[in-house]
């Protein structure tokens, strides 16, 4: 199951061999290595945002608005905490599942199923962005949250929220376009002519990363 490498040494000796031999260090397609490095840089960006949020939340002397009340929805006259956020989380996990299946069918060269699952993933991504737009609208119009203040408590709540979820939403939106482009190419046989479906896996890496970031936002911003 391991990657084929010219030096098939495993473990730490393998790390030394991979880096010191006169060859490419990572026996993966270059696009995949580059996507991983891009995601590494994105990890640093999102961690900086979340760390900045931690810093302002710790240093404010005003009470932090309770996210479980701010993000509650009224269903049948009752406040259900974080309902929309829970649905958004489930939608994003579902999309990660369909993406993983798409990568699998891609390597089996099953064009139709790969494209179908990728379009499904993109559609779920659109649903996520739509729900986020609804959440933003509700917060701005009904709750009066602004980047510089809000009626519920610490002013830093708004700026942290808009910056973190906005940047994540931007990633989801870009991902939807990216997936749609790759899925269209899958359908018209581009990757059959190219001889490899690795692009589907690379797009998958990006999509799973978007889901991964949401896991951290959900934990630190909505639940903490």
């Amino acid at each position: 199951m391991t990657q084929q490498s010219t030096t098939a040494v495993e473990g730490l000796a393998g790390v030394t061999a991979d880096w010191s031999a006169d060859k490419q260090s990572f026996p993966v397609p270059w696009g995949k290595a580059m996507m991983w490095i891009f995601l590494l840089s994105d990890t640093f960006i999102f961690t900086c945002f979340l760390t900045g949020y931690m810093n302002v939340r710790m240093s404010t002397t005003e009470a932090w608005p309770n996210p479980s009340e701010v993000f509650s929805l009224v269903v049948a006259g009752k406040h259900v905490p974080l309902l929309l956020i829970a649905i958004m989380t489930m939608v994003l996990i579902t999309s990660s599942g369909t993406m993983a299946m798409a990568v699998n069918y891609g390597y089996q060269r099953d064009r139709k199923r790969t494209a179908l699952l990728m379009f499904a993933t993109a559609f779920l991504g659109l649903m996520f962005v739509g729900m986020q737009a609804f959440e933003w609208t509700k917060l701005i119009v009904e709750e009066g949250v602004r980047p510089w203040g809000n009626p519920m408590g610490a002013a830093q709540f708004g700026s942290s929220f808009f910056m973190i979820t906005g940047f994540h939403g931007l990633h989801v939106s870009c991902g939807v376009i990216y997936l749609a482009v790759v899925a269209k190419r899958v359908l018209n046989g581009f990757y059959d002519r190219k001889g490899t479906y690795e692009t589907v896996e690379i797009a998958g890496l990006y999509w799973h990363f978007v889901d991964l970031v949401w896991v951290f936002i959900f934990a630190f911003f909505y639940l903490w």
């Binding site: 199951m1 391991t2 990657q3 084929q4 495993e10 730490l12 393998g14 790390v15 991979d18 880096w19 260090s25 990572f26 026996p27 993966v28 397609p29 290595a33 991983w36 995601l39 990890t43 640093f44 961690t47 760390t51 900045g52 931690m54 810093n55 302002v56 939340r57 710790m58 240093s59 404010t60 002397t61 479980s68 905490p81 974080l82 829970a86 989380t89 489930m90 996990i93 990660s96 599942g97 993406m99 993983a100 299946m101 990568v103 699998n104 390597y107 089996q108 001889g195 490899t196 690795e198 896996e201 998958g204 890496l205 799973h208 889901d211 991964l212 896991v215 951290f216 934990a219 639940l223």
Partner: protein, 113 residues
């Protein structure tokens, strides 16, 4: 070069084919763990709640990176190159936590006057 690249791609494609069953299991697990983490919202803010939030968060992150992103099947050199550097961020988090605490105390002292 072209030939070697093709061989590499073929070997790579072969290396990343896993039974669909694994993905379905991880998918299901992600739903279950997400449901658990949602219910931490019903706990009072305290060590139990924060501990569980972190536990479920790392479980989900681990599943996604290891299985969905195929990191479990990559060579150690790539794992270290990608998963190692984020450890540096711990230093940033600790520094900013100290800084935030200091700012908080300074503000308390300043506003009390």
């Amino acid at each position: 070069m072209g030939h070697a690249t093709e061989q590499n791609a073929a070997a790579h494609a072969e290396g990343q084919q896993h039974p669909i069953r694994i993905y379905l299991w991880i998918w299901l697990l992600l739903f279950v763990v997400s449901t658990f983490s949602y219910f931490t919202d019903y706990l009072d803010r305290g060590m139990l709640r924060w501990g569980l939030i972190l536990l479920f968060m790392f479980l989900k992150a681990g599943f996604i990176v290891a299985i969905f992103m195929h990191m479990a099947w990559e060579r150690l050199a790539l794992k270290l190159a990608i998963l190692g550097p984020p450890a540096l961020l711990l230093a940033l988090i600790v520094l900013m936590a100290i800084e935030g605490d200091y700012t908080f105390i300074t503000r308390l002292a300043a506003y009390a006057q």
